[in-house]
């Protein structure tokens, strides 16, 4: 009888343990999918010229920074305001934009996520530039994941074409 109870308790703990690990994995999986979705929406919005879709992915206080090299090969960075960024999308003229992203990594921790992705930007099917983008997202209560800041690097040479 004692052995039976002991076995029962061990099995019970085992299941409780497994259940907790499973539910943790489940929430990580759910968060990664949601984060991925926000990033996809952003890129879709950009190529579609849909500034509202883009804005929905962004936190109201988002900070956007681009870094590149000027003609003299000197590193420069520029802070782009949200308005400027959205206007760039609204002002999109007839040209066709396409942005391809690959090698995406997502790191998650307690309401905070960060994404690192390679990208190539095409204008009218011509490769324009490439680099990486680094996004940081937060999930405030009762809100969706929102991008609080992103930084990208930009180069014209040595781009991988897909």
């Amino acid at each position: 009888m004692k052995i039976f109870i002991n076995t029962f308790i061990i099995v019970l703990f085992f299941y409780i343990g497994i259940h907790q690990i499973q539910s943790q994995n489940h929430s990580i999986k759910k968060d990664s999918i949601e984060v991925h979705h926000v990033i996809n929406n952003l890129f879709d919005g950009i190529v579609e010229g849909d500034s509202i879709k883009v804005k929905n992915s962004l936190h109201e206080n988002v900070i956007i920074i681009t870094s590149n090299k000027n003609r003299q090969n000197v590193n420069q960075i520029k802070e782009v305001s949200v308005v400027e960024f959205l206007n760039g999308i609204i002002d999109k003229k007839l040209e066709e934009w396409n942005e391809k992203i690959w090698s995406i990594t997502i790191q998650l921790e307690d309401g905070f996520a960060r994404v690192w992705t390679n990208y190539s930007f095409y204008m009218d099917s011509q490769l324009s530039h490439c680099g990486v983008k680094s996004f940081q997202l937060v999930k405030e209560s009762n809100e969706n994941w929102k991008i609080v800041n992103f930084v990208d690097s930009k180069k014209k040479n040595g781009c991988q074409t897909l």
Binding site: F112, Q136, K139
Partner: protein, 161 residues
């Protein structure tokens, strides 16, 4: 004779092909070391109460944010400020600010890098809180890596000590 020619050609192609790869790896390694050094300088500076050392690791327009849960388990986002942070380090405090970091990952492309690290913060030997630090660094016009953004998460439980 023919064989020698082939060999020379192949050796040549082989080495020319590998040279840029090696050069690229070398620059990646050099950049990772430099980025790691900036992060170490920051935490050393905090321990030493050396605000100039800490200031030197940041870009002047650095973005500082903290995410945490309040008592009602609601996620909050708080904006930090470099001057306040530097003041806290510079002002006399009896116990050292000792932030231990581990599981550091670094990603680099050209002049952009991001670092992710777990941390536990101690005031003297007293444990305070833990979480992750997420850094973004850029190379400034003098080719020095500077922290352009720092976001940290903060919690008191489920901490490795």
């Amino acid at each position: 004779m023919n064989i020698t020619n082939y060999l020379i050609t192949y050796f040549f192609i082989f080495f020319v092909g590998f040279y840029p790869m090696k050069a690229q790896n070398k620059s990646f390694k050099k950049d990772s070391i430099a980025v790691n050094q900036v992060i170490n300088n920051l935490f050393d500076g905090m321990r030493e109460g050396d605000s100039a050392k800490v200031n030197n690791t940041f870009h002047k327009n650095v973005v500082m944010l903290t995410t945490y849960k309040n008592k009602d388990n609601i996620n909050l986002l708080e904006k930090g400020n470099l001057d306040k942070f530097l003041n806290a380090i510079a002002s006399p405090h009896p116990n050292i600010y000792d932030e231990k970091i581990w599981n550091t990952t670094i990603q680099i492309d050209e002049n952009l890098a991001q670092v992710w690290t777990e941390y536990a913060f101690y005031v003297g030997t007293e444990f305070s809180h833990c979480g992750v630090n997420a850094f973004q660094l850029i190379k400034d016009k003098n080719n020095k890596w500077k922290i352009i953004s720092l976001i940290d998460t903060r919690r008191k439980d489920k901490c490795k000590k």
